[in-house]
Amino acid sequence: MSDKEVDDISGTETTGHEWDGIKELNTPMPRWWLWTFYGCIIWAIGYAIAYPAIPLVNGATKGLLGYSSRANLDAELVAAKAGQASYLARIDAMDVADIVKDEELARFARAGGSSAFKVYCSQCHGSGASGAAGYPNLNDDEWIWGGTPEAIYTTIAHGVRYDADFDTRFNEMPRFGADQILERDQIRAIANYVAELSGGEADPALIAEGETLFADNCTSCHAEGGVGDPELGGPAINNGIWLYGDGTVETIIAQINEPEHGVMPAWREKLGDATVKQLAVYVHGLGGGQ
């Protein structure tokens, strides 16, 4: 091929490419650029030898320097664990109530509790701890088993109605209707009284009878006036917070007739005492702690 084109003005050969009448000159690159390019190639070869580079069937070449991002992560995790060790030792040694009072330790415990909550508790109580039907909302200020740091700790550590734990929280409401302890009309009267007690709609004609029946059958757990008894795990029923149903007479009847009961596992065996304490501090700090 002899169709070499030389630019008139510069006297330089062109590449033959043309855009809108502008032709590209085939100007030689500086030699140092070539050496830089060679240098990069040599660097790349050295890099490929020194670091993991070439993918093989089972993993990649290891590299002479022994670099591994997984080993780096392990080292970081070990360092992070070591950094947490002193806090965790203090948490182990202290009571939950004292941890809550220690501002620095409480902040650490709250952070640890928050992440543990996301893993172990959010399935039932929700990631924001706002609960669901049958699963208590942990943000509010009503506590079936008490809202002090110690009470929350005990509940998490031993669970609720969890047979495998000897110290578990246990309290079951009798099946007043299903076991024919009370008549249907009596249950309806009690339900109307409870609806009235909690600020809901009730039939005024039934309230007086319901009050008497309530005093005879229910106050041992729910206390007089339905304020509840955290010692026994008797929920307060004098407010608008309901674990089952929505506080209408019908849903209250259903619960008296054949009560539903929640079960929570005991966590101390599984998570260890320090994590349970952190969870207790976190839950206590959600805004309803006592």
Binding site: P28, M29, V100, N137, I241, G287, G288
Partner: protein, 525 residues
């Protein structure tokens, strides 16, 4: 073009007009060896201007970190400080927080538009005068000249055999270059920490590793780029010449060889005159080439390599002075000026293309005609430069306005989404908020937080035994953010809708600064 019709040689062998692609005689070197450049010292107005720019820019660069600015006991007293550790940028009375990075973005946009403005008016002035590469190359050349002498001496030294004297000169030159490199890298780190403390730590080997690494890298780049590579950086590494070149138009001032008065150039003007021929003003002395730090010949026209430093103008003006001719054979001119004068010199109207020096000269005195077009500085004012200027000024004014109006107290409020609200046993509804109080002053402040537009509401702090109240008082440390977890409770009787908009207001103790955040209170409908 290869011919398709082979002609027949006497021996009846077909002979083709064809060249092998790799024929030695036609092969171009793929990679060119660098040609050494020995710029001669220039003197004149532009050279003086360049000295001035160099003095100012280098002084600003080296001195700035050492200037102090009193911000009181809680903040650093360095005029310009980029405090990466605490994520603050101090510039005199301005203190920029990370979320105010738009100031930096605005300054970058201003720098970009400013470059458009400068380039469209006076060409590649940035390259020729203010670019750090130009400034430091100039500085390195000063050292080189001081040790090795000017152009001819340097050429001779370069070609000479290695003697102790040459070795001494070369070693001392590179040693001083390296020293300049160290000082350059050294000055840079002082922008990022308290200069005096860092300087002390640096020499007692107590400074952080990144400081030493930065100095090492900047020393290496300064020495390599400014001392060794010089024009190679501008020609092959820098993207600006490509970009800047397309921002020039026919009204931009560029360094121009006025061939309409210079051509035909001749070293032997007198002999030509005796032969009855007319020569141009250029005596082909190559002074313009000798002083060029880029090693180009401006008489070849505008070139990518030209950084418009105008040293060739100085060199040529000196020659013109000696010859008793008018200055400006090489000058700053616009393409319009050039084309007009070229038209006069060639008589373009009559279709001639060669330059006739007599057309631009008075036949009696030999002086250049007054009718020639001279550079008019007002030509830089045109719609394009006005757009650039007003765009540039508008951003600057907008930033100044925002800066003047910004409150040194800020309030960021994030409403809880999970849960949106919590029903309490007394029937109340509680919302949670993550509040951040930003005290952007170097003094501690007492900040009062109140609510507006939410009747019957009470605030309380998470984890606090303090009872619910309608206002809270916080001590905020100087130049710090105070994060607060805030609960607000309202009885549903006080709420008319599911969502109520209200304001959280932060007020400083002296009542002078105030920040407001508009937030929602959520409740079941």
């Amino acid at each position: 073009m290869s011919t398709d019709a082979p002609h027949i040689t006497p021996n009846a062998v077909h002979e083709f007009d064809v060249d092998a692609v790799n024929k030695a005689g036609t092969r171009q070197p793929l990679y060119a060896k660098r040609r050494k450049i020995f710029p001669k010292r220039a003197s004149g107005n532009f050279r003086k201007f360049k000295w001035l720019v160099m003095a100012i820019t280098l002084t600003i660069y080296y001195v700035t970190p050492w200037l102090r600015w009193d911000r009181g006991p809680y903040a650093p007293d360095q005029l310009v400080l980029i405090d990466l550790e605490n994520r603050r940028f101090y510039f005199a009375f301005i203190e920029i927080w990370p979320q105010e990075f738009y100031y930096v973005a605005g300054m970058l946009v201003m720098a970009g538009i400013g470059l458009f403005l400068i380039t469209s008016t006076v060409g590649r002035a940035w390259c020729g005068y203010a670019c750090p590469q130009t400034v430091w190359v100039d500085l390195f050349l000063v050292v080189e000249r001081a040790i090795e002498g000017d152009r001819n001496a340097r050429i001779k030294l370069d070609a000479a055999a290695w003697t102790p004297s040459k070795l001494f000169k070369r070693v001392s030159k590179h040693a001083i270059w390296l020293l300049i490199g160290v000082l350059t890298g050294g000055a840079w780190i002082f922008y990022f920490a308290d200069a005096a403390t860092l300087a002390q730590d640096f020499f007692t080997l107590k400074a952080p590793l990144v400081a030493y690494a930065t100095v090492a890298i900047l020393t290496a780049t300064t020495y390599t780029f400014g001392g060794l590579m010089r024009e190679q950086v501008c020609t092959y590494m820098c993207p600006w010449p490509r970009i800047q070149a397309v921002m020039l138009d026919e009204n931009s001032l560029t360094v121009t060889y006025n061939d309409w008065r210079g051509e035909p150039r001749s070293k032997h003007a007198k002999r030509l005159a005796s032969e009855g021929k007319v020569a141009g003003d250029c005596v082909d002395c190559n002074a313009c080439v000798a002083v060029c730090p880029m090693g180009i010949d401006i008489r070849d026209g505008q070139q990518l390599e030209c950084i418009t430093c105008a040293l060739c103008i100085d060199a040529c003006d000196n020659v013109m002075d000696k010859l008793g001719k008018e200055r400006g054979l090489i000058s700053y001119a616009t393409l319009n000026d050039y084309n007009t004068n070229m038209g006069i010199a060639t008589g373009a109207a009559s279709g001639e293309a060669t330059i006739d020096p007599t057309r631009v000269r008075d036949s009696r005195t030999g002086r250049l005609l007054d009718s020639l077009r001279h550079t008019n500085w007002r030509s830089v004012i045109r719609p394009r430069t006005l757009v650039y200027f007003f765009g540039w000024a508008a951003i600057g004014l907008a930033m100044l306005t925002v800066l003047a109006l910004r409150s040194p107290l800020d309030l960021n409020v994030l409403h809880d989404r999970n849960p949106l609200y919590v029903l309490l046993s007394d029937g109340g509804i509680r919302n949670g908020y993550d509040v951040k109080i930003l005290n952007m002053t170097p003094q501690p402040r007492e900040v009062t937080l109140t609510m507006q537009g939410l009747d019957g509401a009470a605030m309380s702090l998470a984890g606090s035994t303090q009872l619910a109240t309608d206002q809270l008082v916080f001590e905020v440390e100087p130049d710090r953010v105070l994060p607060v977890r805030l609960y607000i409770r309202v009885h549903p009787d006080d709420l008319s809708e599911g969502r109520t908009e209200f304001s959280l207001v932060a007020t400083s103790d002296d009542g002078n600064v105030r920040a407001e955040a508009h937030v929602n209170f959520e409740a079941p409908r």
